[in-house]
Symmetry: C2
Subunit: 213 residues, 2 copies
Amino acid sequence: MTTGERKPYKRVGEEVRRETMIAAALELIAEGGIAAATVRAIAQKAGITPGLIRHYFRSKEDLTRAAYQSLMERMTLANAIVLDTASDEPKARLAAFVAAALRPPVVDPASMGLWAGFILSVQRDPELREVHRVTYLGYRDVLQGLIAALPREADAARLRAEAIACNGVIDGLWLEACALPEAFVKDELAEIGLRSVGANLGVNLLTEIEIIS
Amino acid sequence: MTTGERKPYKRVGEEVRRETMIAAALELIAEGGIAAATVRAIAQKAGITPGLIRHYFRSKEDLTRAAYQSLMERMTLANAIVLDTASDEPKARLAAFVAAALRPPVVDPASMGLWAGFILSVQRDPELREVHRVTYLGYRDVLQGLIAALPREADAARLRAEAIACNGVIDGLWLEACALPEAFVKDELAEIGLRSVGANLGVNLLTEIEIIS
DNA sequence: GTTGCAATTGTGCAAGCGTATAATTGGATG
DNA sequence: CATCCAATTATACGCTTGCACAATTGCAAC
């Protein structure tokens, strides 16, 4: 009571501050949805005071959008890295891409929490919806490129259908692994995913699995 | 102002009242997540006053749980009906089951909204988690039964892996159809799903499609 | 019909929300 | 080392939330 002291602070670059807030918001959303990411909770987790958030973001919705965009960019980047570090052999590249999506850290209850937390806002907000569309179709295009590189013959229509199907397999298995991790043994889903994608395309990807793990 | 009249009302059976509230809650959750399903909003949509909700449910969490259970029961029932009205031929039954999951009314932004709205609570609340587990595994078991009925030879381990894979295909395509309906032409995803499930199992389900549509 | 009681409505409260805005202070600049 | 301004903290407001509890009323039983 005697000491009505103000909180001491240090000035930090704008970029760093914004990313600190975004990171805090994403953690909270992953845990409890957008509702849990209150301005006060974000500020506490980021080690700042609520007022500062308003200084960097016009509104909470503004912060939410920035967080979603940041998340999508990070995901796209992670996929690019997987492919950069993969070999040149088409089958091996596809196998690495599929397996990476079905193992930690991509498979993780927190990442599903983020997905679920955002998807409602994505449906309602046209701006977020566009980000979602571009990211989703971009991911599918990369997958389609990997499929097209396989030593087979396939026309465009078939490639599109195959990419959609394989993307569905990946998404579905990812979802189930995140939602009920204890229902599967380690690497079971990655193996099932490789077999299923292989069955869709008429190739055997399981021979590539040793390379990955 | 002069007339400070009370809202007139009629007494209704407990069962009906509870289901009215649950239906209202589900509609709101589908649109805007659990956060949008406030006690006041639920009461308004159900045509009652907020106080009555407390009379039938100890807390909002209690209502949320009841709503989730009701939703899962309805889904399970809908699947049973699809199979009841299908033919006896194993391939046709499987095809009907897959196609039903990839068309309206199962494919619908609102149903994905419900899913996303609940999944966070499901992860956090052990009671809801158990409901989820039982429902999910039950669905997969039905699917595995349909696969086992096909005229093929398959051991238990292979059946399990195939059921997981096919369930993944269905869930993943369902998700994509709900999230970006405009990215696909009508029935495209049902066709892709049938082809993909068929490829996983080594059978051709597309010959069954005329029966369904 | 009158009575009785559970079903229903109405009111109020403490807590938390997003946001606006005033008051401070860190640190670069000269 | 004094100046100055943006970065940061602090305070306050109006609104909504879940919940508790008191006041009414429909309706079945007698």
